[in-house]
């Protein structure tokens, strides 16, 4: 069978993806440190500032995370046809069909892939939209915790999360969403790559996916 190369993921989307990966990893590690600092310093007068450094890196990664999410939201509206929100959600008959095909395939009921489709499958699409929503809450709680005295963030923070302690609790809880997401995401990418020859893993590096030439 002859396969054809198709350009699917724009540079901006790939940049978004890798910014998100690096920021989430950094945020989780520094976040764990900030919650439960594992260093045991008793040296005085050294000026090492481990907590200060961790918090600064956390903030920096938070801004990268924010930028990445804003780029993805931009692409949801103005991206190419594989990146737009209408391609991610089960709102068209094509997408609803894909969703059931994907769910059947994931539960090993049959082995068919929607070969015509180049973008995300709709199960992934729904989870990605949910992830962006969680990310928005994560950003808002993060800014509320970082800028507690700002009138703007205090107003929204109290409305959305409650006190600083509520926000902190929910911020920490949502981190676990991203950790579980990462596990399942990586597993399903490998699973799909083993099952289907469309080049799903390399597509996030190169932007290209493959499908049989017979499909137009």
């Amino acid at each position: 069978m002859i396969y054809e190369k198709h350009y699917v993921w724009s540079i901006l989307l790939r940049l978004y993806h890798w910014s998100l990966v690096s920021s989430v990893v950094t945020l989780a590690i520094t976040g764990f440190y900030i919650n439960t600092p594992w260093t045991l310093t008793t040296l005085e007068g050294t000026g090492l500032y481990p907590m200060l450094t961790m918090r600064n890196i956390h903030s920096l990664a938070g801004y990268l995370f924010t930028a990445a999410i804003l780029v993805r939201i931009f692409l949801l509206i103005f991206g190419n046809r594989h990146e737009r929100i209408l391609d991610l959600l089960p709102v068209t008959s094509r997408n609803i069909k894909n969703m059931s095909t994907t769910l059947c395939s994931y539960s090993y009921l049959h082995d068919c892939q929607d070969e015509e489709r180049l973008g995300h499958n709709v199960v992934a699409g729904v989870i990605y939209v949910l992830t962006i929503i969680v990310a928005l809450f994560q950003m808002a709680s993060g800014f509320y915790l970082r800028l507690p005295e700002s009138v703007f963030w205090q107003k929204w923070g109290v409305m959305l999360f409650g006190t600083q302690q509520h926000a902190r609790f929910e911020h920490h809880l949502m981190m676990w969403y991203f950790i579980v997401f990462a596990l399942i995401h990586i597993y399903l990418v490998i699973w799909n790559d083993l099952k289907h020859p469309d080049g799903i893993t390399s597509s996030i590096f190169t932007g290209n996916k493959f499908r049989p030439r017979s499909i137009k």
């Binding site: 200060l52 082995d111 507690p148 579980v180």
Partner: protein, 365 residues
């Protein structure tokens, strides 16, 4: 301040020196210029200052105790001296019908002019029968007094956000004043107990400028609750440097290191404790080696507990099990990993049984 700390006399009058000193302290707490101190003094000594009705509901009287007793007689007496207290169950001489008469006289005579201070939560369940004074429920008393007051000052964690009575499962349906009163301005002075300076500052601000001080989104005056404890804490340098007390009495604790890992809630609590301090001897919880418990924040009994952990515990859905947030997270991650493992095993098993699973690959082979 040392002279007042050592003072043990029981003279009920505030001398002029103590009076001016108290006004100066309040001006400092309010963050207003020293040029305004004469105006504060003038307002505090004015003959036309409004009377105060002090209502006690579900509370322990700790707020009153901390205001009046403590070790700073000047501030305590200053409060009694400045405000014309017409009704206060703890300190008034009258009792029974006399006391109730005094309350109603003030309500009639000074309607729309008096200040109302509320201490304690208001139980609303079962028609409010869990707190009754002179045969009437707290809900009824507040409903009668609140509309006639010029402003209401809710003092303490209970009157502001319900306090310990409102902690889960809140058996009496206790609520704070701001949830029950509309139409009359309410200002919150939370804390368990709050610093007397914060209360006095609010009262003097009202007497001097004829309006309540600016508040944050939770109704607390910004002059006292505008900054996080963590940002003014004397142990902050140890926090940034990563020097923590790991347990009570260890090396770090004895050397004054940060109490963060002992569950100090300073990073999520707004109050002037590190700058205003307590008891005229310049102490506050963190300075004497115990973490902040976040008593100025709404529902702190529910959200700040366990007091010696950083974050609240989580209820495992569908069970009565309670665990800390990271154990819950690890459990969810473990379940997800197990699901992934089972999913992968089924895939491999199917492939072993059937040979090749995919239609495309079948075509190719």
């Amino acid at each position: 301040m040392t002279d007042t700390a050592q003072s043990t006399d029981l003279n009920l009058q505030v001398d002029r020196r103590g009076f001016l000193k108290g006004c100066t302290m309040v001006a400092a707490a309010l963050g207003i210029s020293e040029a305004m101190i004469p105006k504060l003094v003038e307002a505090a000594t004015s003959a036309q200052r409004p009377p105060v009705i002090w209502l006690h509901f579900q509370e322990c009287t700790g707020c009153t105790e901390s205001l009046l007793r403590a070790s700073h007689p000047d501030i305590g007496r200053l409060i009694l001296d400045i405000i014309s207290l017409d009704y206060h169950e703890t300190v008034m001489a009258a009792a029974g019908h006399q006391a109730e008469k005094s309350l109603h006289d003030t309500l009639d005579k000074y309607a729309g002019k008096f200040l109302c201070v509320v201490e304690g939560a208001i139980p609303t369940k079962d028609n409010g029968i869990y707190c009754k004074i002179a045969g009437r429920t707290a809900v009824d008393i507040l409903a009668e007094v609140a509309p006639k007051a010029a402003a209401i000052i809710a003092i303490g964690a209970c009157a502001t956000y319900g306090g310990i009575q409102a902690a889960q499962p809140n058996p009496t349906g206790a609520k704070g004043v701001q949830d029950l009163v509309s139409g009359t301005p309410v200002i919150n002075i939370p804390g368990c107990p709050p610093n007397p300076i914060s209360f006095l500052g609010t009262v003097l601000h009202y007497l001097t400028f004829n309006r309540l001080p600016v508040t944050d989104n939770l109704g607390r005056p910004l002059f006292a609750y505008g900054r996080k404890i963590h940002d003014h804490c004397e142990r902050r340098a140890h926090f940034d440097e990563g020097r923590f007390a790991e347990e009570f009495g260890d090396f770090g604790h004895r050397n004054g290191y940060c109490l963060y890992k002992l569950g100090c809630k300073g990073p999520e609590t707004f109050s002037n404790c590190p700058s205003a301090r307590f008891n005229d001897v310049d102490v506050w919880p963190v300075s004497v080696g115990h973490g902040c418990i976040g008593c100025t924040e709404p529902n702190f009994w529910d959200t700040m507990t366990p007091f010696y952990e950083r974050l609240p515990n989580v209820q495992i859905p569908g069970t009565s099990g309670i665990t800390d947030i990271d154990s819950a997270g690890k459990t969810i991650l473990g379940v997800a990993a197990a699901a992934v493992g089972i999913h992968a095993a089924i895939g491999i098993g199917k492939k072993v049984i059937k040979g090749c699973g995919c239609k495309n690959e079948n075509k190719e082979s």
